[in-house]
Amino acid sequence: MSTLFFIFIGALLVNNFVLVRFLGICPFLGVSRQLETAVGMGMAVTFVMTLSGIVTWVLQHYVLSPFGLAFLQTLLFILVIASLVQFVELFLRKMVPVLYRALGIFLPLITTNCAILGLALLVAQREYDLIQTVIFAVGAGLGFTLALVIMAGIREEMQFAPIPESLQGAGIALITAGLISIAFSGFAGLVPM
């Protein structure tokens, strides 16, 4: 039980996907201008991440490892993630229109979000079991959301700040991310890894 808790906290705070592992930086900088869209993107990523974590885990354990095909990992994982995203989009549009309206516009962006593939690769590397994988994926997804929400909150305030012209946009966003990352480094050592 405690192992699962540590995996969760580790993915959420200590090794935050965005701020410590540098996975999913593109949406982190691109979709963090408004709080509302940040939450939507975060939820969409968490959802797809958990789903793709499960699917790639099954593939790793029942196809790649038994047949010694580990070298096809990258190819297979990215294809699975790309088709999964398409499928989720179709499914949501038909079956859960409410959710589709909230998350739909973020889904096409998710295929090239390296956090999704990164999670699948990390899970395979660490040889997690299925429950650990789910916990890890949920923690990582919520950690991504948390980073995005913090960033969006700060950026909304920053709109009216007198920022040097050259640093406007990406420059100040990166420096802000650095300061948040310093705050998050305070979580290091919170759980035994």
Binding site: T3, F71, L72, L75, A188, G189, P192, M193
Partner: protein, 198 residues
């Protein structure tokens, strides 16, 4: 119809070609990858066992001991692990020492290091850090000479406690303790299994 057929054909051919290319690439690379790993291991083993010309691999079953003061780990089930032990032999085939790999969680992740015991004098020859994820500038100093060298020549019967017989790295107690704790327990195990009796 012909269009969708063409799509299927193109996708199939692409996937097959890719699979073919990759399996060839894998075959070609794999020999080198294995040779690299063996060469690397060989180098460190002979490095920590001065005087050794060759070595043989012995398997050792150990049950990692749970430190009493570490309540957080007490719920984790004890796992049976096979750790390899390497017996270094000189050119006459006589044993000069034992080398073994220790894995213990530190501050940022697993610390992996190799240690050598001179079995004629029952002292440590040296330790070498193979892998760690400790904080650069603090815990990463476990891989630096001042910390590592204090183990060279120590008797294997020493307590290996930070603050007593081992100087820890200031600001990185967890990393230092991970090395000493791992070393202490593994030495006991290795000597119990493979040490000369009597």
């Amino acid at each position: 119809m012909s269009n969708s057929l063409r799509m299927v054909i193109v996708l199939t051919i692409t996937a097959m070609l890719s699979g073919l290319v990759l399996s060839y690439a894998y075959e070609a690379a794999n020999t080198y990858i294995q040779r690299n790993e063996e060469a690397k291991l060989r180098l460190v083993i002979l490095d920590v066992l001065p005087g050794a010309e060759t070595y043989e691999t012995l398997a050792s079953k150990t049950q990692p001991e749970i430190p009493e003061d570490d309540v957080t780990l007490s719920e984790a089930p004890p796992t049976q692990q096979l750790i390899p032990v390497y017996r270094g032999l000189d050119k006459n085939g006589k044993e000069v020492g034992l080398a073994f790999i220790v894995e213990n969680p530190g501050y940022g992740g697993l610390i992996r290091f190799i240690a050598g015991i001179d079995t004629r004098s029952n002292t440590l020859t040296q330790i070498q850090i193979l892998e760690h994820k400790e904080t650069p500038g603090l815990g990463s100093k476990i891989a630096d000479a001042p910390f590592r060298e204090q183990f060279s020549g120590k008797s294997i019967a020493d307590p290996f406690v930070v603050g007593q017989d081992v100087d820890g790295i200031s600001g990185a107690t967890v990393s230092s303790k991970a090395v000493t704790d791992g070393l202490r327990t593994t030495i006991q195990e290795v000597m119990k299994r493979h040490g000369k009796r009597g």
